[in-house]
């Protein structure tokens, strides 16, 4: 879809290689697996947990101009919904084409109903996308 997907954990790239080789659930993985053993990038996004030295489950979508568009962080034992991440990404793509519209909470894909925001909608897109 024209995005660069990179997974990141504080494991080294060597562990990523071994995990990819061992875990059959990862058989279809084509994305790059990022290594952040110093925690520098995790800290940049506020997901570094100093108590464990590990990264929290955070997903971030960055626009081509470097703006951080979306952020979702969960505590340890809850997985994220990839459909939701894809929905957000598609909404981002849609909105870069239609800058005067807003994707309400039930929006899933191109063709779904959108809103034309007025002053009362300014600053509320984040809440609407994360309902």
């Amino acid at each position: 879809m024209g995005a660069e997907l990179v997974t990141v954990s504080t494991d080294t790239e060597f562990v990523h290689l071994a995990w990819k080789r061992d875990e059959k659930e990862l058989a279809d993985v084509t994305y790059k697996m990022g290594a952040d053993p110093t925690g520098a990038v995790s800290k940049l996004f506020g997901v570094y947990d100093p108590a464990s030295g590990l990264a929290l489950r955070g997903s971030f979508i960055i626009a081509p101009d470097g703006t951080l568009f979306n952020s979702e962080v969960n505590f340890y034992n809850m997985g994220r919904n990839i459909d939701e991440l894809m929905r957000k990404f598609k909404a981002n793509l849609y909105l870069t084409r239609k800058a005067d519209e807003g994707c309400p909470s039930k929006w899933k894909d191109d063709g779904d109903a959108t809103l034309r925001p007025g002053p009362e909608m300014v600053g509320r897109v984040h809440e609407a996308l994360n309902k």
């Binding site: 990862l26 993985v29 940049l44 590990l54």
Partner: protein, 56 residues
């Protein structure tokens, strides 16, 4: 590589950073650079998780 002490917030510009990566398609180690992704006009999706060989 310099990094902000305060984490990036939504709506802010993410400073350029680099990550060493394992590329399963090339079966090799590689680098991800935000500066390069931006130059290529690409969106970047970062997916952090605690550790390899864990569940969920």
């Amino acid at each position: 590589m310099s990094e902000e002490l305060k984490p990036v917030s939504v709506g802010q510009s993410v400073p350029d950073f680099e990550l060493t990566t394992y590329d399963p398609v090339a079966h090799d180690f590689s680098k991800f650079s935000l500066a390069e992704a931006k130059k290529a006009g690409k969106w970047t999706i970062l997916f952090f998780y605690p550790a390899d060989f864990t569940f969920v």
